[in-house]
């Protein structure tokens, strides 16, 4: 059955809504479910505004003798998007069995003496499996060594979900404004998507070779509250050419995020003295040093030539 309605609003599209209201039962004999079709809308992608994830809710009855491990997987096309690992010990029950889930939020591990467990977790779909059009959802069991799945029942409230919650603690968006007043502007907006404040926030901008940032290239904030945003406009001018790119890196206590804006229209610097002012301070010692080295080199060459050939200085000037 083909789901004709694309998942174009936030919320869960359960297996029941995708046309599979009954439990999907897998076991050692039937290790792979039939494909369940879902459709993603045009321009679907993982972020920056909308994110797609799967919910995996099932009851597993694990049997087998001795040490082993196995997986209950959700496949969304190219690969496994959500997976639960079960590990059975060397000893027979009531020895503790463990299982774990890993998603973008981190990992969780559980142990129990019982062999029938309920698992319910969500995970973001791998990027390569999020695109517009028809996709297939498949549930799969993998079992190794002594572990066996007696029965795994996938609940009908499993499914595919669209959300606006980013898997990353920070998001960084860049937007370019048209050239005005002799410079283009790139606005960087960094948002805290976590439920706690993030501290030590810093933005640093770098321009492509043919362009340069005018004014401060970095800015800091002591903290950004949960759900809060900070922004900074970077002015950019061209050394040559009409288009450039800007890289912005955001760093905080929660990690690092990077964004790039390519092919921005940039204008030539209005006056060399104004735009070079920012660079000349940092490069001035290098220029002075290079000038000294060049000058000493010229003097040395002149003396050498004068000594070997005995030519007058005027001739040397014309040769060099």
């Amino acid at each position: 059955m083909v789901a004709t309605q694309p998942i174009d609003h936030d919320g869960l599209r359960s297996l029941a809504q995708l046309g599979h209201p009954a439990l999907i039962v897998l076991s050692t004999r039937t290790r792979r479910s039939r494909a369940i079709v879902f459709r993603l809308p045009r321009h679907a992608a993982q972020g920056p505004s909308h994110w797609y994830r799967v919910r995996l809710h099932f009851r597993a009855d694990v049997s087998g003798s001795g040490q082993g491990f196995g997986y209950v997987n959700v496949i969304t096309g190219h690969g496994v998007t959500a997976s639960t690992e079960f590990v059975t010990p060397r000893r027979k029950p009531p020895a503790r069995m463990s299982w774990n889930t890993v998603n973008t939020a981190g990992e969780r591990k559980y142990t129990a003496t019982r062999r029938v467990v309920d698992v319910d977790f969500r995970n973001y779909i791998v990027e390569s499996d999020v695109s517009s059009g028809i996709h297939r959802l498949v549930f799969q069991l993998q079992q190794y060594r002594g572990l066996r799945f007696r029965r795994v029942a996938i609940r009908a409230d499993s499914g595919v979900e669209r959300t606006s919650v980013s898997p990353y603690p920070m998001t960084l968006r860049l937007t370019a404004s048209p050239p005005a007043g002799g410079a283009s502007s790139v606005v960087a907006v960094l948002a805290n998507t976590t439920t706690k404040p993030i501290t030590g926030v810093k933005l640093l901008a770098m321009a492509s070779k043919n362009a340069m940032i005018v004014g401060p290239r970095d800015v800091r904030w002591p903290s950004v509250p949960s759900g809060g945003r900070v922004h900074k406009a970077f002015s950019i001018v061209a050394r040559y050419g009409a288009r450039g790119s800007v890289d912005v890196v955001g760093a905080s206590s929660k990690g690092v995020v990077h964004a790039r804006l390519k092919d921005i229209p940039v204008v030539q610097a209005p006056a060399p003295s104004e735009t070079r002012g920012d660079r000349s301070s940092s490069w001035a010692p290098v220029g002075v040093l290079a000038g000294c080295v060049a000058g000493l080199g010229a003097i040395a060459r002149r003396r050498k030539l004068r000594g070997s050939r005995g030519a007058p200085a005027r001739e040397l000037d014309t040769r060099s």
Binding site: V80, S83, T101, E107, V126, Y144
Partner: protein
């Protein structure tokens, strides 16, 4: 550079160089105090990932810290898509990697957590071959679950590689040549039936072929681009 593969001639040349270094290495090791046996990576170690949000340091280490001077080996392999330590270890054990080594430590961040944590791995290695070499890899992932999740690569396990020379005999011991073991394990993964992308992911941990200044028995060599192995 991106698809550089070690040739047989290059490998033979490196073996010769390692052999000539043997006596000097032994003398140097005996002369040094344990304190000075720190390994210094060519580059400053950094946290890397294919896409995140989890990330891991591009070198493992002798201790649970981030010091550049205690780095042991560069990460050279990324098992991805549906990888887990149990699954990778089981499959490679069938290819001869069934012995355990000594533990090393890998710093990582799991999910969007900011705290650095450390995974410990003894890894797996082969029996000694006729050259008295065994081939050793250590795989790393969060301790609780033995795999990372990456939005681009799916379930991921990373690994460092090196040769242990003369560990099974009384000769002078040397360790290193991560790149060669990376290619060897890539061959083994292909033999298992897994798809391999050699020298595909830049991990910024290139190490020119050289003996470590403090520990000449530690032979650095890595092209800085990890091989990706897709685990079904």
């Amino acid at each position: 550079m991106r698809h550089r593969v070690t040739t047989g001639h290059q490998s033979a040349h490196r073996r010769q160089r390692l052999g000539m270094a043997g006596l000097g290495t032994l003398v140097a090791i005996l002369a040094m105090s344990p304190q000075s046996l720190a390994h210094r990576a060519a580059h400053r170690p950094m946290f890397v990932s294919v896409n995140g949000p989890s990330d891991y340091l591009n070198y493992d280490g002798d201790n649970a810290n981030l010091s550049r001077n205690t780095r042991d080996w560069p990460l050279t392999l990324i098992f991805y898509r549906n990888a887990a330590v149990n699954k990778v270890g089981d499959a490679l054990a069938a290819r001869g990697y069934k012995n355990f080594g000594s533990p090393a430590y890998e710093p990582y961040h799991s999910g969007s957590g900011a705290h650095t944590r450390y995974d410990t791995s003894k890894g797996r290695k082969t029996d000694c071959d006729s050259h008295n070499n065994d081939y050793h890899y250590r795989f790393y992932a969060p301790g609780n679950t033995d795999r990372f999740y990456d939005l681009k690569y799916g379930y991921v396990v990373v690994a460092s590689t090196h040769i242990d020379h003369n560990e099974c005999t009384s000769g002078p011991k040397r360790y290193g040549r991560s790149e060669e073991v990376e290619q060897r394990i890539a061959n083994d993964a292909e033999a298992i039936g897994w798809s391999v992308r050699r020298n595909h992911s830049a991990l910024l941990n290139r190490e020119p072929l050289r003996r470590d200044r403090n520990d000449p028995g530690h032979v650095w060599e890595n092209n800085g681009i990890a091989t990706d192995v897709r685990v079904p």
